[in-house]
């Protein structure tokens, strides 16, 4: 199924797209694909990795000035440098969607986006969907429909649903499946997730957001 969001106006010009990640070589994949190479004679060159670059990231409406290594992913910076651990780490190679965030309103894998690439864009994480201490409509829908078990893929599911619903107010079941297909749930709660996305579309209309 063609996914128009990758080509639409909300797209991130630098980041790796959700559906197009297989054609790109992401930083996370390089960092993770180390098994079996450890016996390389002499070891690889790692020149320059300690050099940092000054950037400013706009996350959930706030500006965060940061010193980052060019190879650091947005996921790493969000979790380990900013403590925004609502965004989860599942594979670091663009397969599971646990790290899904919105970049300029479009769902993206934070593990496949370098922190430097995210500069100049609006990043929204799970924390950014909250209304103070109150759950946002998509979160509320996931609660009501029990659309999670262990809850670890859930932030990514919620961000994917949020992105889907921003583009389409009343998605059909097929559109929901396609929109959520980039997010794995090993607990297997998909049937409840489908219901939650439907419910979220209703709650969003009521909430007007």
């Amino acid at each position: 199924m063609r996914d128009d969001r990758d080509h639409g106006k909300g797209g991130c010009p630098h980041g790796v797209s959700r559906r197009g990640f297989l054609t790109a070589v992401g930083a996370g994949a390089i960092g993770a694909a180390t098994l079996g190479r450890a016996q390389t004679p002499g070891g690889p060159s790692v020149a320059g990795t300690a050099e940092t670059t000054k950037i400013a990231l706009r996350i959930n409406g706030r500006i965060h000035p940061l010193l980052v290594e060019p190879r650091w992913t947005l996921l790493f910076v969000l979790r380990e440098k900013l403590g925004l651990t609502g965004t989860k780490v599942g594979c670091e190679r663009g397969e599971c969607g646990a790290c899904t965030v919105l970049i300029d309103g479009t769902p993206r894998y934070a593990c496949m986006t370098l922190a430097m690439e995210a500069e100049g864009h609006e990043v929204t994480t799970l924390e950014g969907l909250m209304d103070g201490e109150v759950l946002g409509p998509v979160q509320q829908a996931f609660l009501q429909e029990d659309a999670f078990q262990c809850g670890y893929c859930t932030p990514g599911q919620i961000m994917a649903a949020e992105g889907l619903l921003r583009g389409r107010q009343e998605p059909t079941l097929d559109e929901i499946r396609a929109g959520m297909s980039g997010n794995l749930c090993r607990c297997g709660t998909y049937a409840h997730i489908f219901r939650a996305v439907k419910k979220a579309s209703e709650l969003k209309k009521v909430a007007g957001r």
Binding site: L35, G90, Q149, G188, T189, A191
Partner: protein
């Protein structure tokens, strides 16, 4: 190395102190059984829940593990000099490091060095590094150079016993003598049969791949170690770490209050716990060590493959006369139950006087297995339930009717054939078939075009799911009537905390919002076994009820004095204690002066032993409908229904969620999941979620119906509950295979039912659309 003290229980009968009372079963419930959202939904949905992988400590380092890239090799030399010069590097440990000269136990008697020179599977730990950032830790790991002597390997359990197969362990590739079971006389049984079928079946090895990676954060405070661990059981992890590091249990605190899935792969401690602790010790800084996704495909468990041959005899009237199963399996390079429980359904699910099973467990150069959701059972169901389908057809009987004819009244697989406490199998079969519209769906035409439609069903039971001691739980009641529940059990996503809070609410009347839960922390919560085996609810809920009732007794004593009514004539109504005789004699709990003076009521609850002489097992029957494209071999799952007898339904919402999840995981076994070894190198080739396919939102039916039988089991325990999380995945794959057969007339006896495999079978049969 000295012989450290071992904390393994190893078959000793577990026990808790006797519960203070044995309350009567609930006749009606106010809270238990309702469809209520989870008590920790806010934390999990807002991002405020701190999972172990979310833990960030001041001054924390990151670690990475160098793993053997070969299926079988000897480590000859490890050179860390280049790594040690890299930016951010802080420490390295190898087999030569004194602080890492520790024993790692696979079983009580089988152990190696933590970094053993002999690596018997790809992914075995060789060295580890701590650095300022994870990227720098991996830089350093890549800069370590290791000289390996690569050894011959065997990764196919079917070849492990062939002459000349490379030995994985010194004693050869047999884990033990074949395990045999026999009742009656199968030769006689086959002679009596009108039809005898014999078929080979195989299920591929699967990986658990929970969403949260395996890992921990370790921090020392002097002699005390704290480990934040993504685990199903904090106590088993504490015991293993204390054993390996030779520390007092009291000095090892394991915290795992939230965790992101396990499915059996997180029931135990792992080498990485020790590695993180040792690196933290050497650097005097906290260390975070989480594996990469690829590593989790190599070294933290799998469901063993099962190579099965099943012979079955049946009379024309549907009487089973004999069942004979042989199975070969492997738990990898170390003893890990490679054939465990594969034969249980053959032994126990249907009435059959003559049964023989034989299981051969072998070593291969593969990662050690760990229990995976209903160990052995989905494999056994794949064989038995496809065979039952074939037998039904052979005698011209409906598959549901055939099974109904063979529903057992006693647990034949157990010694002495004791009766079950409750057997919901007949009800699951009949009510499931009715709700699914089985007979109508069976008669529907398959379709004239290339796309055929079919329905299938399968049944199952789960050997455990009874739960039992030990468990200790504490409930505290505060003077304003709010409460705290303190238990050691992990909530692995099944809704344990929610169900337990509902039990407290049932007995103490307060709303769930007024119950705070503290769980899964060896420093602050009570002893619990790991959450696994579908035993958490039947184990913990009676202990929680016992604790809540202990609080209630004290509360009634205080209220009796203040209301001048005997304690035996009191009940709780909302936030008040009320006389059963006169509703006007009442006082709000928060107004009880005696409670305010005490400040706190504390109730300790324990889990009593199970009834002797009876067997407690959950039962299940599942039905599904599929479409098969005969041109491509593509299978579409249209709908699923699961009828479950898991005793009392504790929470209708989380119950249904378990059913959906179990079916989804079973669909993975049926359709896509399989470990693939490279024949040339013995390496796992599909060590990621791109190549190892688990079900996605595109692969599951939207219509999944949970049909609980809701038969409270008063003999099982004081809440009437039986296990649910595992039975829900046992018959799923077999039901799919049977539906595919119904659609296209081809039996897929080897999992997964990939389009390639199915289209090849269709081509061989010449039935391509």
């Amino acid at each position: 190395m000295r012989d450290p003290k071992l904390y393994f229980i190893d078959g000793a009968a577990p026990e808790s102190p006797t519960p203070t009372g044995t309350p009567a079963p609930w006749t009606e419930t106010r809270v238990v059984g309702k469809a209520l959202p989870r008590v920790d939904a806010y934390e999990r949905l807002s991002g405020t829940a701190v999972y172990p992988s979310d833990v960030i400590l001041p001054d924390m380092l990151f670690a990475a593990v160098l793993r053997c890239p070969h299926a079988h090799a000897k480590v000859k030399a490890v050179d860390v000099s280049a790594a040690a010069k890299l930016p951010g590097f802080r420490a390295v440990i190898t087999g030569e490091t004194k602080a890492a000269d520790l024993r790692w136990y696979y079983t009580r008697t089988v152990f190696t060095k933590l970094f053993d020179p002999t690596c018997r599977f790809e992914g075995e730990a060789v060295a580890a590094v701590a650095a300022e950032t994870p990227q720098q830790a991996w830089d350093a790991v890549r800069a370590i150079s290791v000289e390996y002597e690569v050894l011959p390997f065997v990764v196919d359990e079917r070849k492990a016993l062939e002459p000349g197969a490379p030995p994985v362990q010194d004693g050869g590739n047999r884990v033990r003598e074949p395990q045999k079971y026999q009742r009656g006389d199968v030769a006689k049984g086959f002679a009596e049969a009108d039809k005898v079928l014999e078929v080979s079946y195989r299920t591929a090895a699967e990986f658990h791949t929970p969403m949260e990676l395996h890992g921990c954060v370790a921090r020392w405070d002097g002699q005390r170690l704290t480990v934040w661990e993504s685990t199903q059981g904090v106590y088993p992890v504490q015991q293993r770490i204390a054993t390996v590091l030779e520390m007092p249990l009291a000095n090892v605190r394991v915290i795992g209050s939230y965790m992101g899935g396990g499915f059996g792969s997180k029931l135990q401690a792992d080498k990485y716990n020790i590695i993180a602790a040792v690196l933290a010790r050497l650097t005097a800084r906290p260390v975070k060590l989480f594996l990469t996704r690829e590593e989790t495909f190599l070294c933290v468990g799998n469901r063993p493959p099962a190579e099965m041959r099943l012979k079955a005899g049946v009379k024309r009237d549907g009487t089973l006369t004999a069942l004979e199963l042989t199975v070969v399996g492997t738990g990898g390079a170390y003893p890990a139950g490679g054939t465990g429980l594969v034969d249980w359904l053959v032994r126990d699910l249907y009435t059959c006087p003559n049964v023989r099973t034989e299981a051969t467990d072998v070593y291969i150069n593969g990662g050690p297995s760990r229990p995976m959701r209903a160990p052995g059972h989905p494999q056994g169901a794949w064989a038995l339930e496809q065979m039952m389908d074939a037998l039904a057809e052979a005698i011209g009987m409906d598959p549901v009717e055939f099974r109904l004819k063979n529903v057992p009244t006693v647990s034949q697989g157990n010694e002495g054939q004791p009766p079950y406490t409750t057997t919901g199998l007949t009800k699951c079969l009949t009510e499931g078939a009715k709700a699914f519209g089985w007979s109508g769906a069976r008669r529907r035409p398959k379709g004239d075009g290339p796309v055929k439609r079919g329905v299938g069903m399968a049944a199952g039971l789960w050997i455990a799911g009874d739960g039992g001691p030990p468990s200790t739980v504490i409930v505290k009641l505060f003077p304003d009537g709010s409460a705290n529940l303190n238990m050691g059990a992990s909530d692995i996503g099944t809704g344990t905390k929610t169900v337990m809070a509902m039990v407290v609410a049932e007995e103490l009347g307060l709303p769930l919002e007024r119950i705070q839960i503290e769980n899964a922390d060896t420093g602050t919560t009570e002893y619990a076994t790991a959450s696994g085996g579908s035993k958490t609810v039947p184990t913990e809920s009676p202990a929680v009820r016992d604790a809540a009732l202990a609080v209630r007794r004290q509360l009634f004593e205080i209220a009796a004095e203040e209301l001048k009514v005997p304690a035996s004539e009191l009940r709780i109504e909302g936030d008040a204690v009320v006389s059963t005789k006169d509703p006007k004699t009442t006082k709000k709990i928060a107004d009880l002066e005696g409670l305010r003076r005490r400040g706190l009521l504390l109730g300790v609850g324990t889990r009593g032993p199970n009834l002797e002489g009876k067997v407690i097992e959950p039962f299940v029957a599942q039905f599904c409908e599929v479409e098969v494209d005969t041109r491509t071999g593509q299978v579409w799952l249209l709908r699923f229904l699961s009828a479950n007898d898991s005793g009392r339904v504790m929470n209708r919402l989380t119950y249904e969620n378990q059913v959906i999840g179990g079916i989804t995981m079973g669909i993975g076994l049926a359709m896509t999941e399989q470990r693939v070894f490279d024949r040339q190198t013995g390496k796992v080739v599909n060590r990621n979620w791109h190549d190892y396919k688990i079900p996605t939102a595109m692969d599951v039916p939207a219509e999944v119906t949970s049909l609980p039988m809701d038969i409270p089991d008063p003999e099982a325990n004081t809440t009437g509950s039986k296990g649910l999380g595992e039975p829900v995945t046992i018959p799923t794959a077999a039901a799919v295979a049977n539906a595919v057969y119904d659609a296209v007339g081809v039996r897929v006896t080897e999992s997964p039912i990939s389009p390639m495999r199915l289209v090849a079978l269709l081509a061989a049969r010449g039935t391509r659309g």
